[in-house]
């Protein structure tokens, strides 16, 4: 089997890239990367494996955080939540888990499975269910393509573990998990039903950890060489710059757990005189210039600091921030008709159909994969 064994420097790159792919949401990668590096220093290993290399009948579970990022920065993880989750699920199923993956590569959840993998010494599949961040559990290519709703599980820092043995729909599962997370103090780790190697190979968004690494690598190399990190992101991602500008207004409101709002960006430099409005529902969803929609969900709208290339989350937005607004094509699997029912504009309450920007291509795996010694 070919593995890519991560180093601390890789974690830094992946963290930067997951931030960019977070499209404004997904929570911070800061705690996850601190923890991942601490585990590596303890002698643990984090091995990535390509989805095509997984045995077709391998058993894989997705792991990710659920809850309020503001709570997560205060009541930090205990550390073994993922191991408890996995053991509970294994016990329930009577079968071992062979590998882990992240349901959501964007933000902190792009790193979450690596922490459990390091502790359990299991590989992490280089694929996820979003290729970005989305606000709800059921918005994954896995659920879109028929991943069973049960069993799913939730674990908190205090030692509570909950297994959902039946849920009527993925949306109902989301409601059950969300409500239980509140009971657990608003921050928990979750997993959904195990998937086979074959299922992940067919319906996972491939090589998104590789993609995050490549984006982060481009940014960090550009910074070190005193080059423009935003240009480096564009070159690496195949995305386009919608505008370079300055935040001139941010109107927020929160309803039903969604951080909604509209961000207005005024152009700077060669974009002087232009203005873009971006609609937010936890993530950046829609970019308009005047009456024209220039990028819409599920295509990625990424906002980065103009100077450093660091991703700017929706909760960090404020007046005067100097940013670049980028657009990247959504992964192939998110643009299908069946996917758009769950993650297209209409799924977020808009009354228009998806119009793609740019051509979808799946990210290649990094060349670091090599035979396990």
């Amino acid at each position: 089997m070919k593995y890519w064994t991560l180093t601390e420097a890789d974690i830094d790159r992946i963290a930067v890239g997951c931030g960019i792919l977070g499209t404004g949401g997904g929570g911070s990668t800061y705690h996850g990367s601190l923890r991942a590096k601490a585990l590596l220093r303890e002698g643990k290993r984090i091995r990535m494996v390509r989805p095509a290399d997984m045995a077709p009948d391998a058993q894989i579970i997705g792991i990710g955080g659920i809850g309020a990022p503001t709570v997560g920065i205060e009541k930090i993880a205990e550390g073994a939540e993922g191991v408890r989750l996995m053991h509970a699920l294994e016990h329930h199923l009577g079968r071992k888990v062979d590998a882990l993956l992240g349901d959501e590569v964007g933000g902190g959840n792009g790193i979450a499975p690596m922490l459990t993998a390091a502790m359990a010494d299991l590989p992490v599949v280089d694929a996820d269910g979003m290729g970005r961040a989305f606000p709800e559990v059921q918005m994954t290519t896995f659920f879109i393509h028929g991943q069973p709703v049960q069993p799913a599980a939730l674990a908190d820092a205090d030692g509570n573990v909950l297994i959902v043995t039946e849920a009527t729909t993925p949306k109902m599962l989301e409601k059950l998990l969300r409500a239980s997370t509140i009971a657990m103090g608003c921050t928990a780790l979750m997993t959904t039903a195990p998937m086979s190697g074959d299922f992940v190979r067919r319906f996972g968004v491939p090589h998104t950890t590789s993609q995050a690494w490549s984006l982060g690598n481009a940014v960090l190399n550009a910074r070190a060489a005193k080059e423009d990190p935003v240009e480096a992101i564009l070159k690496q991602s195949g995305g386009i710059r919608l505008m370079r500008g300055k935040v001139t207004d941010i109107a927020r409101r929160v309803s039903a757990g969604f951080n909604r709002g509209t961000l207005t960006v005024a152009g700077l430099d060669e974009d002087a005189g232009r203005s873009i409005a971006i609609e937010i529902q936890n993530e950046y969803l829609i970019a308009r210039e005047g009456e024209t929609i220039i990028t819409m969900v599920p295509d990625l709208i990424c906002i980065v600091d103009s100077e450093t290339g660091r991703a700017i989350g929706t909760e960090e937005l404020r007046y005067g921030l100097r940013i670049d607004v980028l657009s990247m094509p959504a992964p192939v699997l998110l643009r299908s008709e069946i996917a758009l029912e769950s993650v297209g504009p209409r799924a977020f309450g808009y009354d228009f159909d998806f119009v793609p920007v740019g051509i979808s291509t799946d990210a290649p795996a990094v060349p670091q994969y090599e035979e396990d010694a």
């Binding site: 930090i76 993880a77 039903a256 757990g257 960090e316 100097r322």
Partner: protein, 514 residues
């Protein structure tokens, strides 16, 4: 009211004497290694210049980078025992995990993670584990640790466990200096804990420094209260500063911006502070510096102190000018060696100051030494410096609308005429001492940042209780209660959850109690 403001920078110590709003005298002198003697000298000079007796001064305000330097240089720091009240939670990231490897061993006195802490809604994570705290104290005492930082999960939701733990520690270690996180930082466990640890680590230096100021001032015949300026440009009493030295750590740029506001009477403007090596550009909003959204890094340690959003770049009076086809100014500078290095002072280096002297913008040194600078070259270089300021200014401005700009700092002689994008470019009297004046006119604030559950209460009541706590802190820091008003309130509902929790940050400001 007679007030003396002192700003101790890396190179210069500035002092200003004010009667009410009238500036009586300002002076610039060299910073000394011990800080205190330079401050005493500066105060003696302003008093003499204004002909004012030391005994009639009502208050002295000091802004100092002394504590920041201690952290940056890793000197005069004490080892700290860290008590985290967390139960099982948070153990994946132990205290000081994100500290630089150079600083951690200097400060790390051992951590104990024990039962305690609360959730966002105030419910207990685990009961306070008193026996574990006592055991940790015995260990610290045996190893001669005298400074303790106590940090509880969600201490800003409910600080009672930190207070209880402090009582247990005080009983076990009667001489320990104890720092509590709910008094130091904002929401965010690691950065608040780190700030608390830094505070504990600076405790002895704080006591010694404040003690040295007190002794020096009484020798000068000053018998008035002493205050230090803190990160947000407001004051704390010397007693308070002894216990919370960490609050002084990022007060530098704030004082000169507040001074600029005072000298011009403007509350919304850009402030351009041009020193010897760098230019700092920040924005005044309602009389206070606009702050950065991310917390401050202090000596490589991430904290969550709010600090002014200031853009610094390498342009100052000492900036080195390199002629040629594409002439450059800075970013390197001769710095404090300007009086020996600049051409106009007989040195060998062409500096930005020489350009200003040659163009007649300022009278320094000997202009005759600058005959090789042609008027055309001087004009070109001045335009280039002005353009570099204008570019940064445009990026800092909240909108394309022209706004007034205030030029302060010794290097502001480099700029002549109106800057593009501004409605006025003002160089007020005493522009060179805006930092000391900013210290002299500082007010007193109180701040609270907490996550509040709205179960069983109303939003209004929750806001009220947060503001009341902020007021109590302002009064404790020296504000006259009747002058305290609400300066900022920020309410952030917690995303991703339909629950009823909201983060409330409130700041109040008042006048110094007479």
């Amino acid at each position: 009211m007679l007030r003396i403001g002192v700003d101790v920078g890396g190179t210069n110590t500035d002092a200003a004497l004010l009667r009410g709003t009238e500036v009586l005298a300002t002076v610039k002198s060299s910073t000394t290694a011990d800080v205190t003697s330079g401050v005493s000298a500066a105060i003696r000079t302003v008093l003499a210049e204004a002909g004012v007796a030391a005994g009639s001064v009502d208050a002295v305000m000091i802004g100092t980078t002394h504590f920041l330097n201690a952290v940056v240089e890793g000197r005069h720091l004490e080892k700290v025992g860290v008590l985290r009240l967390c139960g099982a939670s948070t153990r994946s990231l132990p205290p000081m995990i994100d500290w630089p490897d150079t600083l951690r061993p200097i400060v790390d006195g051992g951590a104990a993670l024990v039962g305690g802490g609360v959730n966002y809604d105030g419910s207990e994570i685990a009961p306070l584990d008193a026996p574990a705290i006592r055991a940790a104290c015995r260990d610290w005492r045996a190893r001669g640790i005298g400074a303790i930082a106590i940090c509880s999960v969600f201490a800003l939701v409910d600080p009672r466990m930190e207070n209880e733990a402090a009582e247990i520690v005080a009983a076990e270690m009667p001489d320990a200096a104890i720092s509590l996180s709910h008094r130091v930082g904002r929401t965010g466990l690691l950065p608040r804990e780190s700030a608390t640890i830094l505070n504990a680590s600076l405790h002895t230096l704080g006591r010694e420094t404040v003690g040295a100021f007190r002794a020096a001032f009484s020798a000068l015949g000053l018998n008035c209260p002493l205050y230090l300026t803190q990160n947000d440009g407001t004051l704390m009493t010397a007693d308070f500063a002894e216990r919370y030295p960490v609050f002084t750590i990022a007060s530098g740029p704030t004082n000169s911006m507040r001074g600029a506001a005072f000298l011009t009477g403007l509350s919304d403007a850009a402030v351009i502070d041009i020193g010897g090596t760098t230019t700092d550009i920040g924005m005044l909003v309602a009389g206070f510096p606009r702050t950065r959204s991310e917390g401050a890094m202090i000596g490589g340690v991430p904290t969550n102190f709010r600090v002014p959003d200031v853009y610094s770049f390498g342009l100052g009076g000492g900036s080195i000018v390199r002629p040629g086809d594409a002439p450059t100014v800075g970013p390197d500078s001769v710095g404090f060696r300007l009086p020996e290095k600049a051409l106009c002072f007989g040195g060998d280096t062409l500096t930005a100051t020489d350009i200003a002297v040659s163009a007649g913008l300022v009278n320094l040194g000997e202009r005759d030494r600058l005959s090789r600078i042609t008027p055309d070259f001087a004009r070109r270089m001045l335009a280039q410096m002005k353009a570099s300021i204008e570019t940064v200014l445009d990026r800092m401005k909240p909108s394309a609308e022209p706004i007034p700009a205030i030029l302060v700092g010794g290097g502001s002689v480099l700029v002549d005429g109106l800057l593009e994008g501004t409605s006025a470019s003002l160089k007020p009297d005493h522009f060179g001492s805006a930092n000391a004046i900013g210290a002299a006119i500082a007010q007193v604030s109180g701040e609270v940042d907490s996550v509040v559950s709205l179960e069983g209460t109303t939003r209004e009541k929750a806001l009220e209780s947060v503001v009341a706590e902020a007021r109590a802190r302002a009064v404790e820091a020296g504000a006259a209660a009747e002058t305290v008003t609400l300066a900022e309130i920020e309410e952030t509902p917690l995303a991703y959850l339909p629950g009823n929790a909201v983060r409330i940050a409130a700041k109040v400001i008042g006048e110094l109690r007479a």
